[in-house]
Protein backbone atom coordinates (compact mmCIF):
# COMPACT_ATOMS: atom_id res chain seq x y z
CA UNK A 1 0.00 0.00 0.00
CA UNK A 2 1.61 3.28 -1.04
CA UNK A 3 0.31 6.51 0.54
CA UNK A 4 0.98 9.48 -1.76
CA UNK A 5 1.02 12.98 -0.18
CA UNK A 6 -1.13 15.04 -2.50
CA UNK A 7 -2.43 18.65 -2.17
CA UNK A 8 -5.82 18.33 -0.52
CA UNK A 9 -5.23 15.12 1.43
CA UNK A 10 -3.78 11.63 1.17
CA UNK A 11 -4.46 9.24 -1.72
CA UNK A 12 -3.93 5.57 -0.83
CA UNK A 13 -2.84 3.48 -3.82
CA UNK A 14 -3.04 -0.30 -3.74
CA UNK A 15 -0.20 -2.28 -5.41
CA UNK A 16 -2.36 -3.04 -8.49
CA UNK A 17 -3.00 0.71 -8.81
CA UNK A 18 0.74 1.22 -8.67
CA UNK A 19 1.50 -1.30 -11.43
CA UNK A 20 -1.31 -0.04 -13.69
CA UNK A 21 -0.32 3.57 -13.17
CA UNK A 22 3.32 2.69 -13.81
CA UNK A 23 2.37 1.03 -17.11
CA UNK A 24 0.27 4.04 -18.15
CA UNK A 25 2.99 6.41 -17.05
CA UNK A 26 5.76 4.89 -19.14
CA UNK A 27 3.81 4.22 -22.33
CA UNK A 28 2.11 7.52 -23.15
CA UNK A 29 1.50 7.39 -26.90
CA UNK A 30 0.65 10.86 -28.32
CA UNK A 31 -1.10 11.42 -31.64
CA UNK A 32 0.97 12.83 -34.56
CA UNK A 33 -1.13 15.96 -34.69
CA UNK A 34 0.52 19.36 -35.05
CA UNK A 35 -1.39 22.55 -35.75
CA UNK A 36 1.05 25.48 -35.87
CA UNK A 37 4.50 26.62 -34.69
CA UNK A 38 4.33 24.44 -31.56
CA UNK A 39 4.25 21.41 -33.89
CA UNK A 40 7.82 22.21 -34.97
CA UNK A 41 8.96 22.32 -31.34
CA UNK A 42 7.08 19.05 -30.76
CA UNK A 43 8.92 17.46 -33.70
CA UNK A 44 12.20 18.70 -32.21
CA UNK A 45 11.19 17.05 -28.94
CA UNK A 46 10.81 13.73 -30.81
CA UNK A 47 14.17 14.25 -32.58
CA UNK A 48 17.63 13.28 -31.40
CA UNK A 49 18.59 15.94 -28.86
CA UNK A 50 15.50 16.07 -26.60
CA UNK A 51 14.51 12.46 -27.15
CA UNK A 52 10.88 11.76 -26.17
CA UNK A 53 11.47 8.04 -26.69
CA UNK A 54 13.41 7.97 -23.41
CA UNK A 55 10.05 8.31 -21.61
CA UNK A 56 8.40 5.72 -23.85
CA UNK A 57 6.55 8.42 -25.79
CA UNK A 58 6.11 7.18 -29.39
CA UNK A 59 3.88 9.19 -31.81
CA UNK A 60 0.99 7.06 -33.14
CA UNK A 61 -0.77 8.04 -36.38
CA UNK A 62 -4.26 6.78 -35.51
CA UNK A 63 -6.38 8.18 -32.63
CA UNK A 64 -7.50 4.64 -31.76
CA UNK A 65 -4.05 3.74 -30.51
CA UNK A 66 -3.20 7.10 -28.87
CA UNK A 67 -3.54 7.91 -25.17
CA UNK A 68 -2.33 11.53 -25.21
CA UNK A 69 -3.84 14.26 -27.40
CA UNK A 70 -1.16 16.95 -27.65
CA UNK A 71 -2.80 20.12 -28.99
CA UNK A 72 0.28 21.87 -30.43
CA UNK A 73 -0.81 25.18 -31.96
CA UNK A 74 -3.67 27.62 -32.50
CA UNK A 75 -7.14 26.10 -32.26
CA UNK A 76 -9.19 27.91 -34.91
CA UNK A 77 -12.97 27.71 -35.08
CA UNK A 78 -12.88 25.75 -38.33
CA UNK A 79 -10.56 23.18 -36.67
CA UNK A 80 -12.52 22.99 -33.39
CA UNK A 81 -15.08 20.44 -34.56
CA UNK A 82 -12.45 17.96 -35.95
CA UNK A 83 -10.52 18.24 -32.66
CA UNK A 84 -13.61 17.28 -30.65
CA UNK A 85 -14.21 14.38 -33.06
CA UNK A 86 -10.61 13.14 -32.61
CA UNK A 87 -10.92 13.46 -28.82
CA UNK A 88 -13.99 11.23 -28.78
CA UNK A 89 -12.31 8.71 -31.09
CA UNK A 90 -9.55 8.10 -28.57
CA UNK A 91 -10.11 5.16 -26.20
CA UNK A 92 -10.08 5.72 -22.42
CA UNK A 93 -7.94 6.45 -20.42
CA UNK A 94 -7.01 9.48 -22.52
CA UNK A 95 -5.18 12.64 -21.53
CA UNK A 96 -5.09 16.06 -23.18
CA UNK A 97 -2.16 18.45 -23.09
CA UNK A 98 -2.62 22.05 -24.30
CA UNK A 99 0.80 23.10 -25.63
CA UNK A 100 1.59 26.76 -26.18
CA UNK A 101 -0.26 29.94 -25.23
CA UNK A 102 -2.53 29.69 -28.34
CA UNK A 103 -3.95 26.39 -27.08
CA UNK A 104 -4.08 27.62 -23.47
CA UNK A 105 -5.94 30.92 -23.95
CA UNK A 106 -5.73 32.09 -27.56
CA UNK A 107 -2.26 33.63 -27.03
CA UNK A 108 -1.24 36.44 -29.44
CA UNK A 109 -4.61 36.02 -31.19
CA UNK A 110 -6.68 36.97 -28.12
CA UNK A 111 -8.91 39.29 -30.15
CA UNK A 112 -9.12 37.37 -33.44
CA UNK A 113 -12.50 36.56 -34.97
CA UNK A 114 -11.41 33.05 -36.11
CA UNK A 115 -9.65 31.60 -33.03
CA UNK A 116 -11.14 29.60 -30.13
CA UNK A 117 -9.74 31.28 -27.03
CA UNK A 118 -8.20 28.21 -25.44
CA UNK A 119 -8.78 24.51 -26.18
CA UNK A 120 -10.39 23.91 -22.77
CA UNK A 121 -13.50 25.58 -24.16
CA UNK A 122 -14.12 22.48 -26.29
CA UNK A 123 -12.39 19.52 -24.57
CA UNK A 124 -11.27 18.89 -20.96
CA UNK A 125 -7.51 19.49 -20.56
CA UNK A 126 -5.06 17.81 -18.13
CA UNK A 127 -1.86 19.79 -18.52
CA UNK A 128 -1.27 23.34 -19.79
CA UNK A 129 2.22 24.13 -21.17
CA UNK A 130 2.99 27.87 -21.19
CA UNK A 131 5.28 29.42 -23.84
CA UNK A 132 4.99 30.57 -27.42
CA UNK A 133 6.32 28.14 -28.58
CA UNK A 134 7.34 26.33 -25.38
CA UNK A 135 10.87 24.95 -25.45
CA UNK A 136 11.23 21.18 -25.93
CA UNK A 137 12.53 20.98 -22.34
CA UNK A 138 9.27 22.60 -21.19
CA UNK A 139 7.33 19.98 -23.18
CA UNK A 140 9.32 17.17 -21.57
CA UNK A 141 8.75 18.71 -18.11
CA UNK A 142 5.02 18.84 -18.90
CA UNK A 143 5.06 15.13 -19.80
CA UNK A 144 6.81 14.40 -16.52
CA UNK A 145 4.12 16.38 -14.68
CA UNK A 146 1.46 14.36 -16.50
CA UNK A 147 3.28 11.19 -15.45
CA UNK A 148 3.16 12.35 -11.80
CA UNK A 149 -0.55 13.01 -12.21
CA UNK A 150 -1.09 9.53 -13.69
CA UNK A 151 0.70 7.99 -10.72
CA UNK A 152 -2.02 9.48 -8.48
CA UNK A 153 -4.90 7.86 -10.35
CA UNK A 154 -6.87 5.21 -8.49
CA UNK A 155 -8.24 2.03 -10.12
CA UNK A 156 -11.97 2.79 -10.15
CA UNK A 157 -11.28 6.30 -11.49
CA UNK A 158 -8.72 5.33 -14.12
CA UNK A 159 -9.92 7.62 -16.89
CA UNK A 160 -7.92 10.82 -16.94
CA UNK A 161 -9.30 13.94 -18.50
CA UNK A 162 -12.92 12.81 -18.64
CA UNK A 163 -13.11 12.84 -14.84
CA UNK A 164 -12.05 16.45 -14.89
CA UNK A 165 -14.87 17.22 -17.32
CA UNK A 166 -17.45 16.63 -14.57
CA UNK A 167 -15.56 18.61 -11.94
CA UNK A 168 -13.85 21.26 -14.08
CA UNK A 169 -10.28 20.88 -15.23
CA UNK A 170 -8.67 22.53 -12.18
CA UNK A 171 -9.18 19.66 -9.69
CA UNK A 172 -6.06 17.43 -9.89
CA UNK A 173 -6.43 15.21 -6.88
CA UNK A 174 -8.95 12.76 -8.39
CA UNK A 175 -10.77 12.80 -5.00
CA UNK A 176 -14.50 12.03 -5.11
CA UNK A 177 -16.16 15.43 -5.43
Amino acid sequence: MVAKPVPGGQVVLTSTDYIIDLSRKYSLWPLTFGLACCAIEMMVAYAGRFDFDRFGVIPRPSPRQADLLLIAGTVTKKMAEPIVQIYHQMPEPRFVMAMGSCANCGGPYYDSYAVVKGVDRIIPVDIYVPGCPPRPEALIYAVMELQKKIMRMKLERTYGATVQAEKGSRDLTGEPA
Partner: protein, 439 residues
Protein backbone atom coordinates in the same frame (compact mmCIF):
# COMPACT_ATOMS: atom_id res chain seq x y z
CA UNK B 1 27.19 37.54 -17.14
CA UNK B 2 29.80 39.15 -14.94
CA UNK B 3 29.96 37.09 -11.82
CA UNK B 4 32.30 39.38 -9.81
CA UNK B 5 30.65 42.37 -8.02
CA UNK B 6 31.24 45.85 -9.44
CA UNK B 7 33.23 46.86 -6.32
CA UNK B 8 36.27 45.00 -7.56
CA UNK B 9 36.65 47.51 -10.43
CA UNK B 10 40.10 49.27 -10.39
CA UNK B 11 40.12 51.51 -7.29
CA UNK B 12 41.76 54.57 -8.90
CA UNK B 13 38.70 55.54 -10.96
CA UNK B 14 36.54 58.08 -9.05
CA UNK B 15 33.26 56.18 -9.17
CA UNK B 16 30.41 58.69 -9.00
CA UNK B 17 28.13 55.84 -10.01
CA UNK B 18 26.41 54.18 -7.01
CA UNK B 19 27.97 50.80 -6.24
CA UNK B 20 25.59 48.30 -7.82
CA UNK B 21 24.56 45.33 -5.74
CA UNK B 22 26.69 42.32 -6.77
CA UNK B 23 25.01 40.04 -9.22
CA UNK B 24 23.48 36.94 -7.57
CA UNK B 25 25.74 33.94 -8.18
CA UNK B 26 24.17 31.95 -11.03
CA UNK B 27 22.59 28.56 -10.29
CA UNK B 28 25.30 26.03 -11.14
CA UNK B 29 24.49 22.67 -12.65
CA UNK B 30 25.46 20.38 -9.78
CA UNK B 31 25.68 17.20 -11.81
CA UNK B 32 28.26 18.54 -14.27
CA UNK B 33 30.70 19.59 -11.59
CA UNK B 34 29.44 23.16 -11.07
CA UNK B 35 29.96 24.49 -14.61
CA UNK B 36 27.42 27.00 -15.98
CA UNK B 37 24.45 25.50 -17.70
CA UNK B 38 25.37 26.94 -21.09
CA UNK B 39 28.81 25.32 -21.05
CA UNK B 40 27.30 21.88 -20.89
CA UNK B 41 25.84 22.40 -24.37
CA UNK B 42 27.44 19.62 -26.39
CA UNK B 43 27.92 20.03 -30.12
CA UNK B 44 28.74 16.94 -32.17
CA UNK B 45 31.68 18.90 -33.57
CA UNK B 46 33.77 18.01 -30.51
CA UNK B 47 36.01 15.26 -31.97
CA UNK B 48 37.95 13.15 -29.47
CA UNK B 49 40.95 10.93 -30.24
CA UNK B 50 39.23 7.59 -30.06
CA UNK B 51 35.94 6.51 -28.46
CA UNK B 52 37.84 4.26 -26.04
CA UNK B 53 39.27 7.33 -24.32
CA UNK B 54 35.80 8.16 -22.93
CA UNK B 55 35.06 6.45 -19.59
CA UNK B 56 31.33 6.09 -20.36
CA UNK B 57 32.19 4.37 -23.64
CA UNK B 58 34.31 1.80 -21.78
CA UNK B 59 31.57 1.32 -19.17
CA UNK B 60 29.02 0.68 -21.94
CA UNK B 61 31.33 -1.90 -23.54
CA UNK B 62 31.74 -3.67 -20.17
CA UNK B 63 27.97 -3.80 -19.69
CA UNK B 64 27.55 -5.29 -23.18
CA UNK B 65 30.21 -7.95 -22.59
CA UNK B 66 28.57 -8.80 -19.26
CA UNK B 67 25.17 -9.27 -20.88
CA UNK B 68 26.56 -11.57 -23.62
CA UNK B 69 28.44 -13.73 -21.10
CA UNK B 70 25.31 -13.83 -18.94
CA UNK B 71 23.28 -15.23 -21.83
CA UNK B 72 26.00 -17.83 -22.58
CA UNK B 73 26.04 -18.90 -18.90
CA UNK B 74 22.23 -19.15 -18.92
CA UNK B 75 22.60 -21.33 -22.01
CA UNK B 76 24.71 -23.86 -20.12
CA UNK B 77 22.31 -23.86 -17.19
CA UNK B 78 19.32 -24.49 -19.45
CA UNK B 79 21.33 -27.08 -21.36
CA UNK B 80 21.46 -29.19 -18.16
CA UNK B 81 17.74 -28.65 -17.65
CA UNK B 82 17.10 -30.16 -21.10
CA UNK B 83 18.20 -33.49 -19.59
CA UNK B 84 15.37 -33.17 -17.08
CA UNK B 85 12.91 -32.92 -20.04
CA UNK B 86 13.63 -36.59 -20.84
CA UNK B 87 13.06 -37.56 -17.21
CA UNK B 88 9.75 -35.56 -17.27
CA UNK B 89 8.64 -37.43 -20.41
CA UNK B 90 9.61 -40.76 -18.85
CA UNK B 91 7.77 -39.79 -15.65
CA UNK B 92 4.65 -39.02 -17.70
CA UNK B 93 4.96 -42.39 -19.35
CA UNK B 94 5.31 -44.35 -16.07
CA UNK B 95 2.46 -42.61 -14.23
CA UNK B 96 -0.94 -44.15 -14.03
CA UNK B 97 -2.18 -41.78 -16.75
CA UNK B 98 -3.46 -43.68 -19.80
CA UNK B 99 -1.05 -43.20 -22.78
CA UNK B 100 -3.50 -40.95 -24.70
CA UNK B 101 -3.81 -38.49 -21.80
CA UNK B 102 -0.02 -38.53 -21.30
CA UNK B 103 0.50 -37.69 -24.97
CA UNK B 104 -2.02 -34.86 -24.68
CA UNK B 105 -0.27 -33.43 -21.61
CA UNK B 106 3.04 -33.56 -23.49
CA UNK B 107 1.51 -31.71 -26.46
CA UNK B 108 0.12 -29.07 -24.06
CA UNK B 109 3.55 -28.58 -22.53
CA UNK B 110 5.08 -28.13 -25.99
CA UNK B 111 2.25 -25.77 -26.96
CA UNK B 112 2.81 -23.52 -23.95
CA UNK B 113 6.54 -23.47 -24.75
CA UNK B 114 5.90 -22.35 -28.35
CA UNK B 115 3.33 -19.71 -27.32
CA UNK B 116 5.74 -18.59 -24.62
CA UNK B 117 8.49 -18.20 -27.20
CA UNK B 118 6.24 -16.08 -29.44
CA UNK B 119 5.00 -13.81 -26.63
CA UNK B 120 8.43 -13.36 -25.06
CA UNK B 121 9.83 -12.68 -28.51
CA UNK B 122 7.07 -10.07 -28.99
CA UNK B 123 8.29 -8.24 -25.87
CA UNK B 124 11.98 -8.65 -26.63
CA UNK B 125 11.81 -7.75 -30.36
CA UNK B 126 9.83 -4.52 -29.80
CA UNK B 127 12.27 -3.32 -27.13
CA UNK B 128 15.22 -4.36 -29.27
CA UNK B 129 13.82 -2.58 -32.34
CA UNK B 130 13.27 0.65 -30.40
CA UNK B 131 16.83 0.53 -29.08
CA UNK B 132 18.31 -0.33 -32.50
CA UNK B 133 16.31 2.39 -34.24
CA UNK B 134 17.37 4.88 -31.56
CA UNK B 135 21.06 4.14 -31.83
CA UNK B 136 20.88 4.16 -35.64
CA UNK B 137 19.30 7.61 -35.36
CA UNK B 138 21.92 8.92 -32.88
CA UNK B 139 19.51 9.11 -29.93
CA UNK B 140 18.70 7.03 -26.82
CA UNK B 141 15.82 4.61 -26.95
CA UNK B 142 13.59 3.93 -23.94
CA UNK B 143 15.71 4.72 -20.90
CA UNK B 144 13.60 5.22 -17.76
CA UNK B 145 10.87 2.58 -18.02
CA UNK B 146 11.94 0.23 -15.25
CA UNK B 147 15.62 0.96 -14.68
CA UNK B 148 18.66 0.21 -16.82
CA UNK B 149 18.01 1.17 -20.48
CA UNK B 150 14.24 0.80 -20.13
CA UNK B 151 14.20 -3.00 -20.02
CA UNK B 152 10.57 -3.03 -18.80
CA UNK B 153 9.33 -0.77 -21.58
CA UNK B 154 7.45 -3.36 -23.62
CA UNK B 155 6.10 -5.17 -20.56
CA UNK B 156 4.55 -1.90 -19.39
CA UNK B 157 3.32 -1.20 -22.94
CA UNK B 158 1.53 -4.53 -23.06
CA UNK B 159 -0.06 -4.06 -19.60
CA UNK B 160 -1.35 -0.65 -20.69
CA UNK B 161 -2.66 -2.09 -23.97
CA UNK B 162 -4.49 -4.80 -22.04
CA UNK B 163 -6.30 -2.15 -20.01
CA UNK B 164 -7.20 0.18 -22.87
CA UNK B 165 -10.87 0.61 -23.75
CA UNK B 166 -11.75 -1.74 -26.59
CA UNK B 167 -13.24 0.61 -29.21
CA UNK B 168 -15.38 -0.96 -31.94
CA UNK B 169 -16.39 1.77 -34.42
CA UNK B 170 -20.09 2.15 -35.20
CA UNK B 171 -19.56 1.68 -38.94
CA UNK B 172 -17.65 -1.55 -38.24
CA UNK B 173 -18.91 -5.06 -38.91
CA UNK B 174 -18.81 -6.17 -35.23
CA UNK B 175 -18.20 -9.95 -35.48
CA UNK B 176 -15.61 -9.55 -38.25
CA UNK B 177 -13.93 -6.75 -36.27
CA UNK B 178 -13.51 -9.14 -33.35
CA UNK B 179 -12.50 -12.14 -35.49
CA UNK B 180 -9.86 -10.34 -37.60
CA UNK B 181 -7.05 -10.29 -34.98
CA UNK B 182 -7.76 -13.93 -34.10
CA UNK B 183 -7.55 -14.94 -37.77
CA UNK B 184 -4.26 -13.04 -37.97
CA UNK B 185 -2.44 -14.47 -34.92
CA UNK B 186 -3.69 -18.10 -34.93
CA UNK B 187 -1.95 -19.26 -38.16
CA UNK B 188 1.26 -17.63 -36.94
CA UNK B 189 1.25 -19.74 -33.77
CA UNK B 190 0.33 -22.92 -35.67
CA UNK B 191 3.08 -22.29 -38.22
CA UNK B 192 5.62 -22.57 -35.41
CA UNK B 193 4.96 -26.29 -34.88
CA UNK B 194 7.71 -27.84 -37.07
CA UNK B 195 10.18 -24.96 -36.52
CA UNK B 196 13.52 -26.23 -35.26
CA UNK B 197 14.88 -24.58 -32.10
CA UNK B 198 17.93 -26.82 -31.86
CA UNK B 199 19.22 -30.02 -33.51
CA UNK B 200 16.21 -32.14 -32.44
CA UNK B 201 14.35 -29.43 -30.52
CA UNK B 202 11.10 -29.03 -32.49
CA UNK B 203 7.53 -29.05 -31.22
CA UNK B 204 6.42 -31.52 -33.87
CA UNK B 205 8.55 -33.70 -36.11
CA UNK B 206 6.78 -33.42 -39.46
CA UNK B 207 8.27 -34.82 -42.60
CA UNK B 208 6.37 -32.16 -44.60
CA UNK B 209 7.61 -29.34 -42.33
CA UNK B 210 8.36 -26.74 -45.05
CA UNK B 211 5.04 -27.27 -46.83
CA UNK B 212 3.16 -27.04 -43.49
CA UNK B 213 4.85 -23.76 -42.56
CA UNK B 214 4.16 -22.02 -45.86
CA UNK B 215 0.56 -23.29 -45.90
CA UNK B 216 -0.26 -21.84 -42.47
CA UNK B 217 1.80 -18.70 -42.89
CA UNK B 218 -0.40 -17.53 -45.76
CA UNK B 219 -3.71 -17.96 -43.90
CA UNK B 220 -3.14 -14.81 -41.81
CA UNK B 221 -3.57 -12.64 -44.92
CA UNK B 222 -7.27 -13.44 -44.57
CA UNK B 223 -7.16 -11.89 -41.10
CA UNK B 224 -5.54 -8.75 -42.49
CA UNK B 225 -8.07 -8.35 -45.29
CA UNK B 226 -10.85 -9.04 -42.79
CA UNK B 227 -9.44 -6.30 -40.59
CA UNK B 228 -9.27 -3.96 -43.56
CA UNK B 229 -12.88 -4.60 -44.50
CA UNK B 230 -14.40 -4.89 -41.03
CA UNK B 231 -13.29 -1.55 -39.61
CA UNK B 232 -15.50 0.42 -42.01
CA UNK B 233 -12.70 2.95 -42.61
CA UNK B 234 -11.64 3.78 -46.16
CA UNK B 235 -7.96 3.89 -45.23
CA UNK B 236 -8.03 0.41 -43.72
CA UNK B 237 -9.94 -0.89 -46.74
CA UNK B 238 -7.13 0.40 -48.99
CA UNK B 239 -4.55 -1.06 -46.61
CA UNK B 240 -6.29 -4.43 -46.49
CA UNK B 241 -6.51 -4.72 -50.30
CA UNK B 242 -2.88 -3.72 -50.65
CA UNK B 243 -1.92 -6.35 -48.07
CA UNK B 244 -3.82 -9.03 -49.98
CA UNK B 245 -2.06 -8.17 -53.24
CA UNK B 246 1.39 -7.94 -51.67
CA UNK B 247 1.43 -11.01 -49.40
CA UNK B 248 -0.15 -13.36 -51.91
CA UNK B 249 2.20 -12.33 -54.71
CA UNK B 250 5.31 -12.57 -52.47
CA UNK B 251 4.34 -16.09 -51.34
CA UNK B 252 5.47 -17.41 -54.75
CA UNK B 253 9.12 -16.30 -54.76
CA UNK B 254 9.36 -17.25 -51.10
CA UNK B 255 8.32 -20.83 -51.87
CA UNK B 256 10.42 -21.15 -55.02
CA UNK B 257 13.56 -19.78 -53.36
CA UNK B 258 13.43 -22.68 -50.86
CA UNK B 259 13.24 -25.34 -53.61
CA UNK B 260 17.08 -25.45 -54.13
CA UNK B 261 17.51 -26.09 -50.40
CA UNK B 262 15.05 -28.98 -50.57
CA UNK B 263 16.82 -30.33 -53.64
CA UNK B 264 20.14 -30.32 -51.79
CA UNK B 265 18.73 -31.79 -48.58
CA UNK B 266 16.45 -34.23 -50.36
CA UNK B 267 13.51 -33.91 -47.95
CA UNK B 268 10.95 -31.45 -46.65
CA UNK B 269 11.65 -32.30 -43.03
CA UNK B 270 13.44 -29.51 -41.23
CA UNK B 271 15.49 -31.91 -39.12
CA UNK B 272 16.84 -33.59 -42.28
CA UNK B 273 17.67 -30.20 -43.80
CA UNK B 274 19.48 -29.34 -40.58
CA UNK B 275 21.47 -32.60 -40.63
CA UNK B 276 22.39 -32.10 -44.29
CA UNK B 277 24.37 -29.00 -43.32
CA UNK B 278 26.57 -30.62 -40.66
CA UNK B 279 30.24 -31.23 -41.49
CA UNK B 280 32.93 -29.03 -43.06
CA UNK B 281 34.66 -28.73 -46.45
CA UNK B 282 38.45 -28.53 -46.38
CA UNK B 283 38.30 -28.72 -42.59
CA UNK B 284 37.04 -25.21 -41.80
CA UNK B 285 34.35 -24.03 -44.32
CA UNK B 286 30.99 -25.17 -42.86
CA UNK B 287 28.82 -27.11 -45.27
CA UNK B 288 25.94 -24.58 -45.05
CA UNK B 289 23.64 -24.12 -48.00
CA UNK B 290 24.44 -20.40 -48.14
CA UNK B 291 28.05 -21.31 -49.11
CA UNK B 292 27.02 -23.38 -52.10
CA UNK B 293 28.69 -21.59 -55.05
CA UNK B 294 26.01 -19.50 -56.86
CA UNK B 295 22.76 -21.12 -55.90
CA UNK B 296 23.12 -20.68 -52.15
CA UNK B 297 23.70 -16.93 -52.15
CA UNK B 298 20.90 -16.22 -54.66
CA UNK B 299 18.41 -18.38 -52.81
CA UNK B 300 19.35 -16.70 -49.51
CA UNK B 301 18.82 -13.20 -50.92
CA UNK B 302 15.51 -14.05 -52.59
CA UNK B 303 14.17 -15.73 -49.47
CA UNK B 304 15.25 -12.76 -47.34
CA UNK B 305 13.57 -10.21 -49.65
CA UNK B 306 10.40 -12.29 -49.91
CA UNK B 307 10.26 -12.75 -46.12
CA UNK B 308 10.64 -9.00 -45.55
CA UNK B 309 7.75 -8.45 -47.94
CA UNK B 310 5.76 -11.23 -46.23
CA UNK B 311 6.01 -9.55 -42.84
CA UNK B 312 4.94 -6.13 -44.24
CA UNK B 313 8.14 -4.41 -43.19
CA UNK B 314 9.89 -1.54 -44.94
CA UNK B 315 10.68 -1.23 -47.80
CA UNK B 316 7.53 -3.22 -48.42
CA UNK B 317 5.29 -1.88 -45.62
CA UNK B 318 2.59 -0.42 -47.86
CA UNK B 319 -0.35 -2.11 -46.04
CA UNK B 320 0.26 -0.04 -42.88
CA UNK B 321 2.12 2.80 -44.56
CA UNK B 322 2.16 5.42 -41.86
CA UNK B 323 2.51 8.41 -44.12
CA UNK B 324 -0.14 7.42 -46.68
CA UNK B 325 -2.94 5.38 -45.13
CA UNK B 326 -2.95 6.72 -41.57
CA UNK B 327 -2.22 3.33 -39.96
CA UNK B 328 -3.22 0.96 -42.75
CA UNK B 329 -5.45 -1.99 -41.95
CA UNK B 330 -5.18 -1.64 -38.15
CA UNK B 331 -6.36 1.99 -38.04
CA UNK B 332 -9.58 1.19 -36.18
CA UNK B 333 -8.13 -1.34 -33.71
CA UNK B 334 -7.26 -0.21 -30.22
CA UNK B 335 -5.89 -1.87 -27.13
CA UNK B 336 -5.31 -5.64 -27.14
CA UNK B 337 -6.81 -6.16 -30.64
CA UNK B 338 -4.16 -3.87 -32.07
CA UNK B 339 -1.52 -5.62 -29.95
CA UNK B 340 -2.51 -8.90 -31.65
CA UNK B 341 -1.58 -7.46 -35.05
CA UNK B 342 1.70 -6.20 -33.60
CA UNK B 343 2.38 -9.65 -32.12
CA UNK B 344 1.59 -11.26 -35.50
CA UNK B 345 4.11 -9.02 -37.26
CA UNK B 346 6.90 -9.85 -34.81
CA UNK B 347 5.83 -13.52 -34.77
CA UNK B 348 6.34 -13.71 -38.52
CA UNK B 349 9.67 -11.87 -38.22
CA UNK B 350 10.76 -14.53 -35.68
CA UNK B 351 9.45 -17.33 -37.91
CA UNK B 352 11.27 -15.96 -40.97
CA UNK B 353 14.53 -15.52 -39.08
CA UNK B 354 14.35 -19.10 -37.72
CA UNK B 355 13.62 -20.39 -41.25
CA UNK B 356 16.55 -18.40 -42.65
CA UNK B 357 18.77 -19.87 -39.93
CA UNK B 358 17.63 -23.45 -40.63
CA UNK B 359 17.59 -23.31 -44.42
CA UNK B 360 20.73 -21.36 -45.17
CA UNK B 361 22.89 -20.92 -42.07
CA UNK B 362 23.00 -24.54 -40.95
CA UNK B 363 20.85 -24.19 -37.82
CA UNK B 364 22.53 -25.92 -34.90
CA UNK B 365 25.87 -26.50 -36.71
CA UNK B 366 28.85 -24.59 -35.31
CA UNK B 367 30.63 -22.37 -37.83
CA UNK B 368 34.09 -23.75 -36.89
CA UNK B 369 34.97 -27.34 -35.88
CA UNK B 370 36.53 -26.52 -32.50
CA UNK B 371 33.39 -24.57 -31.40
CA UNK B 372 31.30 -27.76 -31.23
CA UNK B 373 31.09 -27.83 -27.41
CA UNK B 374 28.51 -24.98 -27.39
CA UNK B 375 25.02 -26.59 -27.50
CA UNK B 376 23.25 -26.52 -30.85
CA UNK B 377 20.26 -24.47 -29.74
CA UNK B 378 22.52 -21.52 -28.83
CA UNK B 379 23.83 -21.51 -32.41
CA UNK B 380 20.29 -21.66 -33.73
CA UNK B 381 19.05 -18.78 -31.54
CA UNK B 382 22.10 -16.60 -32.24
CA UNK B 383 21.72 -17.08 -36.02
CA UNK B 384 18.01 -16.28 -35.75
CA UNK B 385 18.78 -13.14 -33.75
CA UNK B 386 21.36 -12.14 -36.36
CA UNK B 387 18.70 -12.50 -39.07
CA UNK B 388 16.17 -10.59 -36.95
CA UNK B 389 18.72 -7.78 -36.61
CA UNK B 390 18.85 -7.63 -40.43
CA UNK B 391 15.02 -7.38 -40.54
CA UNK B 392 14.99 -4.58 -37.96
CA UNK B 393 17.90 -2.80 -39.60
CA UNK B 394 16.08 -2.73 -42.97
CA UNK B 395 13.21 -0.81 -41.46
CA UNK B 396 15.30 2.21 -40.47
CA UNK B 397 17.41 2.57 -43.62
CA UNK B 398 15.12 2.01 -46.59
CA UNK B 399 12.37 4.32 -47.92
CA UNK B 400 9.05 2.75 -48.93
CA UNK B 401 8.23 1.49 -52.42
CA UNK B 402 5.04 2.38 -54.23
CA UNK B 403 2.39 -0.30 -54.78
CA UNK B 404 2.95 -0.84 -58.51
CA UNK B 405 6.75 -0.66 -58.21
CA UNK B 406 6.51 -3.37 -55.57
CA UNK B 407 4.41 -5.58 -57.83
CA UNK B 408 6.69 -4.99 -60.82
CA UNK B 409 9.72 -5.92 -58.72
CA UNK B 410 8.09 -9.16 -57.66
CA UNK B 411 6.62 -10.40 -60.93
CA UNK B 412 9.32 -9.12 -63.26
CA UNK B 413 12.53 -9.63 -61.26
CA UNK B 414 12.18 -11.78 -58.16
CA UNK B 415 10.04 -14.61 -59.56
CA UNK B 416 11.90 -15.18 -62.88
CA UNK B 417 15.22 -15.14 -61.06
CA UNK B 418 14.04 -17.70 -58.48
CA UNK B 419 12.99 -19.98 -61.35
CA UNK B 420 16.44 -19.56 -62.90
CA UNK B 421 17.96 -20.33 -59.51
CA UNK B 422 16.12 -23.65 -59.42
CA UNK B 423 17.70 -24.40 -62.81
CA UNK B 424 21.20 -23.66 -61.46
CA UNK B 425 20.46 -25.92 -58.47
CA UNK B 426 19.51 -28.71 -60.87
CA UNK B 427 22.89 -28.33 -62.64
CA UNK B 428 24.66 -28.40 -59.29
CA UNK B 429 22.84 -31.56 -58.16
CA UNK B 430 23.65 -33.24 -61.50
CA UNK B 431 27.34 -32.36 -61.11
CA UNK B 432 27.24 -33.69 -57.53
CA UNK B 433 25.58 -36.94 -58.67
CA UNK B 434 28.17 -37.40 -61.41
CA UNK B 435 30.84 -37.44 -58.82
CA UNK B 436 32.75 -34.18 -58.55
CA UNK B 437 30.44 -31.34 -57.52
CA UNK B 438 30.67 -29.70 -54.06
CA UNK B 439 29.12 -31.43 -51.04
Amino acid sequence: MRAEPAASAPGGEASPRPVKAPLPTPVLNRKSGGRLLTDTRFWPTEVWKSPWSLPRYRAGAMWLAGIVLGIAAAGFAVGELAVWAEKLLALLGRTSLPPAVAAWVWVLIKLTCVIGVIVVNGLWAVWWERKISAHIQSRFGPMYAGGFHGWAQTILDSIKLLLKEDVTPAAADQPMHLLAPIMAIAPCVMAFAPVLFGDELAAAKLDVGVLYIFAFASISVIGIVMAGWASGNKYSLLGGLRAAAQIVSYELPRGFSVVPVIMFAGSLDLAVIDQAQAGYWLGFVPRWFVFYPVVGQLAFIFFLIASVAETNRTPFDIPEAESELVAGFHTEFSGIKWAMFFLMEYGYVLLSSFLLAVFFLGGGAAPLPFLDFIPSWIWMVSKAMLMMFVFLWFRWTFPRMRVDQLMDFNWKILLPWSFANIGFAGVLVYLHRSGWGPG
